[in-house]
Amino acid sequence: MPLFQAKNIRAGYGDVVIVDGVSISVSANNLVAIVGPNGSGKSTLLKSLLGLARLFSGQVLYGDRDVTRIKSWQAVEVGLGYVPQVNNVFTNLTINENLEMGAYCRRDKAGIKSDLEETYQRFPELAARKKARAETLSGGERQLLAIARAMMAHPKMLLLDEPLAFLSPKASGVVLNRLLQIQAEGTSMLLVEQNTIKALQSASYGYILNQGRCVMEGKGQELLADESLRERFLGLGKEV
């Protein structure tokens, strides 16, 4: 059974439908990517699964549990972690406080303390500036903090909204490597990404969205190799 399924999702903002009839499935320990051009509804789809955008119809399952229209603050308790594209840190809190907020739903003080130490070992960029406000971090550092913050809740699955957007090639390489490391350690991922090549190269499975609908799905490498898709939806041109 898949770890996470979204069936026939119709979502948007206000009365405007942006995503129409999209279904996705994520198996345990897999990285699944959703790619597509700007405005295709990728981020809206992700937000609707967590109660941050309006879900008109559809069903969301986590294992065999129906989590459709779950309140956004309950998603963490279910096992879903979310890393937004922008505004992904608490700017007026210190780095340490951001991480503590990631563990808000936990009560095991000793466990939180040891996880903080482990996080600082894993993310040495953050360790050096524990007491600095998050607003002082660069874009790449903020993204790392956002991922580390989400991981403090021990999610079974991470939903990531364009984690590589606006990052330099070097910073996006660092972020992607950390994500792949986390995935290899057993956290499933649903990755929405504008950087199509990197996303599909890393993903075991991918969905291509265009104008709110899923136009193709398949294994990441196979999607990348499909020349008609590359030209029509991914803006990549022919492979050389």
């Binding site: 967590l50 109660g51 941050l52 309140k71 956004s72 603050w73 309950q74 998603a75 963490v76 308790e77 979310y82 937004p84 505004n87 992904n88 840190v89 608490f90 700017t91 007026n92 809190l93 406080e97 503590e100 907020m101 990631g102 808000y104 739903c105 913050r149 809740a153």
Partner: protein, 289 residues
């Protein structure tokens, strides 16, 4: 001759009152993202709770403070739950929320007026006066300053050391992120509204004990409270402390200046108004941003 020492003490008293009164407004404004004009009535409710409890034989001032806090906290929580939360959940606009708060304030103010009458009243308490050199200070003022300092210290530790305190700052910083982090925003906001209304009520008890009380008590000091909220930066408790000190000094030195140029001290409220306009023009996000 200007007695600087006395003016500084008076300033500290004014600042302490504004700090107690403004804490709840800035915190709830930061979390709920709209200015609650009914906040004035939380202050007035405190003043009248004081009148109710202190009128009884054996009425005890500190008990009046505590009971005023609790009753206003209940009114604050009810106001949020019954009026504002349903409106927020319906995605009501800022202007609708503001109008709702003005209407709620009107209802509360007139309920107090109908219940206790519109005439000015007094607690009829006599406070010991101490003279330190040329400086005169009452026991009430000492209790007020001590309460404000204690509230500031407690709140500092609450906001920086406790899980709920950090959650309040997190929601003020980024409400959507706070939600997906697992923070039950509504529970934290409700708690903040209760606590803020309670502190406002304590300010009301002090204000009434120091001067007199009428159903307009809270409304009359709403302008300076909004001025320090804007000056400190909406949602910033530390900015509020600095802003309360600035306005306290500006008002008390300003009164001396007004007298010096032959104007009535009734114009002291104009100082808060000038600061409010100045902040909006020069530094709209306040000192803390």
């Amino acid at each position: 001759m200007i007695d600087t020492g006395q003016i500084l003490v008076n300033s500290l008293v004014t600042s302490s009152l504004y700090l107690l009164a403004g804490t709840g407004l800035t915190l709830t404004y930061g979390l709920s993202r709209f200015p609650n004009f009914a906040y004035a009535e939380f202050i007035t409710i405190g003043a009248y709770c004081g009148l109710f409890f202190l009128a009884k034989p054996g009425g005890f001032f500190l008990l009046a403070l505590v009971l005023g806090f609790l009753i206003a906290a209940l009114v604050g929580a009810s106001s949020y739950s019954l009026v504002f939360r349903p409106l927020v959940e319906r995605k009501t606009s800022l202007i609708h929320l503001m109008v709702a708060s003005i209407a709620l304030g009107y209802v509360l103010r007139h309920s107090i007026g109908e219940g206790w009458g519109w005439a000015t009243k007094s607690y009829q308490l006599m406070w010991p006066v101490y003279n330190i050199g040329h400086v005169r200070i009452t026991l009430l003022w000492i209790i007020l300053i001590a309460t404000a300092v204690l509230a500031a210290v407690v709140l500092h530790f609450f906001l920086t050391r406790t899980r709920t305190g950090k959650a309040i700052r997190a929601i003020a910083s980024n409400p959507d992120l706070a939600s997906v982090t697992g923070i039950n925003k509504q529970r934290v906001i409700l708690l903040t509204w209760s606590f803020g209304a309670g502190l406002a009520a304590m300010a009301g008890v002090f204000r009434a004990a120091d001067t007199r009380l009428s159903p307009m008590l809270g409304w009359d000091i709403l302008l300076p409270i909004f001025a320090i909220t804007m000056l400190g930066g909406i949602g910033s408790f530390y900015g509020l402390i600095v802003a309360a000190l600035i306005l306290g000094l500006a008002e008390n030195f300003g009164v001396v200046l007004l007298s010096g140029i032959g104007l009535s001290t009734e114009y002291r409220m104009a100082i808060a108004f000038l600061i409010l306009i100045g902040v909006l023009v020069i530094r709209p996000k306040g000192l803390a941003r």
